[in-house]
Subunit: 279 residues, 2 copies
């Protein structure tokens, strides 16, 4: 049934226009989207001028997107959308290590390292020993688990953001657990950094009275046959931005201790165990 | 109060992050937007892959925007958003002529004409006499009302879409009513045309089983001191796309008769009275 558009029946007018033979999931998503989009406009009583601001904002956000920059993902991140999609799709049993967002700086194909090796290639930052175990929910070690790690350098930039300033694969590596499920490697104590804030999303954050910083964190992708893929960070447990991560990535279970080591070259030790959910 | 992000309390986590001293209307709109956006994602249970499709769609929509093309407005139009914003902001007393969307083809500064003059400069199409009265809600004539009219040509394009093919100001003009509130001019019987459908919005319409056509219509902006500005169309009353306008612009009160004239050069007559709401 199609009908003329009215303010009251606006959702039915739009959703009733869809064809009979379209993809059922697309119909479901679009029906839901139009319902909530119209509800938003009606509840906010959006003015013509406010609608124009919204159109301009989306257009500017699109304009700044390039091979190097994805401002719509940044928008999704800063409105909690990315974390919400991640949460919905990664519900786990209690006790399993929680997911958080992948972020834009993962690179496939990082070099494989032996346990205990150092991934910091630029010599910057305060070195830190990361170690722990990969287990199942019952605490049994998982052998052959792959741990893909990456972090920013001491200046707050990932290697891919500074291809001419940082060695390739700086602060990145892949480790595979042995029979006891243990891992260990040397990196740096990561530092907090701002998301790119010189575009429309940065302007939005400023107008909302929000800062653009992410608390310092180490990225992990942990995979093992028979277990759900774990994409997560561990956060430096005393970072000032923990409760105000610009992209809402922090979960209370993902903060990690950083203990000062008094002897030797390595300055910190950060223990963390990864507990995988069955697939 | 800020807190860590959780799936359950995702809206509070994002909205609780806004600063204390921000613009109150911005706070109201963003609170409402985040609430409905998260509700949509939760209800649709959007997958990671579907989120990626959405990000790509928005990025493509931004990429195709230019000085000549506004794909985000097209998206707003085809999802009924533009009409909804128009409706919310132009509620009127019963009997007053209803608003509809302005569309992208209005040009300020069209030439002023005397009543009865012809606005069609390319000699194409079936000529039509448009006439009627501008009155208040009590039927009293409004003197000095400005009527700004525009339509496509017989090929379905506005002059600004074909600057090298059509004379400037083809099928455009401004008329001002006399003491009896009457107006009349010669244009063409407008023809239906597709909105630009070679971009992301066109692809979306195809996937939704929708066509891109607008039913034939004549555009009007009617203004008079002491009355609410009227932005509207009159639609050719027997157009096949009346019930399926791609941008949902049709209201039942805005269809106009087109009567065949048997004698003379002018082939049609379309009478329509505009009834203005007090400001």
């Amino acid at each position: 049934m199609t009908s003329y558009f009215t303010e009251e029946a606006s959702v039915d007018a739009v959703n009733g226009r869809m064809g009979a033979d379209i993809d059922p999931r697309l119909r479901e998503i679009m029906t839901c989207l139009v319902t909530h989009l119209h509800a938003f406009i009606k509840e906010a009583r959006l003015s013509q001028e406010e609608w124009e601001v919204a159109i301009d904002f989306l257009t500017e956000t699109g304009k700044i997107c390039s091979e190097q920059r994805q401002e719509f993902i940044l928008l999704s991140d800063t409105l909690g959308v990315s974390m919400l999609v991640d949460a919905i799709n990664n519900r786990r049993q209690p006790g399993a290590t929680e997911n958080t967002v992948l972020g834009p700086f993962h690179v496939l194909g990082a070099p494989r390292h032996e346990m205990g090796e150092c991934i910091t290639l630029d010599g910057k930052g305060e070195s830190c020993l990361f170690e722990g175990r990969v287990t199942d929910l019952g605490g049994n070690p998982i052998e052959g688990a792959s741990i893909d790690v990456w972090s920013d350098n001491a200046d707050g930039f990932y290697d891919v953001q500074q291809p001419s300033l940082q060695p390739r694969w700086n602060n990145r590596g892949i480790f595979v657990t042995g029979p006891e499920g243990r891992y260990s490697f040397i990196g740096i104590k990561p530092v907090s950094y701002p998301i790119p804030d010189d575009g429309p999303v940065g302007k939005m954050l400023k107008q909302l009275g929000r800062h653009p910083y992410r608390p310092a964190h180490m990225h992990y992708i942990v995979t093992a046959a028979g277990y759900q893929k774990l994409v997560t960070h561990t956060f430096v447990g005393d970072d000032v931005y923990l409760l105000s991560d610009a992209v809402f990535g922090v979960k209370s279970t993902l903060t990690a201790p950083y203990e000062r080591l008094v002897d030797g070259i390595t300055k910190w030790r950060s223990p963390f165990d990864f507990i995988l959910n069955p697939a």
